[in-house]
Symmetry: none
Subunit: 111 residues, 2 copies
DNA sequence: CAAATATATAACAATGTAGTTATATAACTG
DNA sequence: CAGTTATATAACTACATTGTTATATATTTG
């Protein structure tokens, strides 16, 4: 539903690192925070952003909130990127033709 | 080379719209700016961001700078996302397995 | 129950981003 | 050459983001 949120969630290296960690399996907030030189509240907020983007989900387990990857955000992203990917593939399918045209079409100098 | 740049380039709706337009084919700055209620300098800067992210490239054609999609940025993004996708598929591969087991258990009756 | 643990939230400072207007530069046009 | 067109850049404003510290809340534990 919200590509802005999803892509901007991925734009932060800390959040990508968190996702990479979660790719190995579920982890609690403290476990996720450990590798970073960053306070726990900062990590908590990154998790909130990731959750808002549908990239992770959390469950409640006593005082802990284990996080795991969630497919929703990725689905959205993949869907949008598919369109671009298709366009690029189409362009590069035509690349042979384009290059041939450019070569035979040479113009006079760039300034 | 820079995932931060690539993902945050995609995080803006104007930039995604520009990419969607470019998926239909090359366009000049003015052509790209036309559909938006936004000044030309603003669009110029969005294009700079997209170029910096390796998502578009520009050539010089007289006073015009036609833009087109470039595969570099996408490649980077795809590569990173592949890792997440794989993790998600692994998780959901397991889920499918569980569901399949449940379904076939209804038929075969077991655990 | 009191202390410790796990996490969330609020308030704030520093920095980044996206838009604006004004202006510069290069190329086309009459 | 003078004017218009196409694009870029600079200076500035408004708002968002990321991190910090301090503090709140719920849960586990001795």
């Amino acid at each position: 539903m919200n590509l802005d949120t999803a892509f901007s969630a991925l734009a932060d290296p800390t959040r990508r690192a968190i996702l990479a960690r979660l790719a190995l399996g579920e982890a609690t907030v403290m476990e996720l925070a450990a590798p970073f030189e960053m306070t726990q509240p900062a990590v908590s907020r990154h998790l909130k952003v990731l959750e808002g983007a549908g990239l992770i989900s959390r469950r409640i387990e006593g005082a802990k909130r284990p996080c795991r990857l969630s497919p929703a955000g990725m689905a959205e992203i993949d869907q949008w990127l598919a369109m671009l990917r298709k366009a690029l593939e189409a362009n590069y399918g035509r690349l042979d033709g384009v290059l041939a045209a450019m070569t035979s079409n040479e113009k006079k100098g760039t300034p």
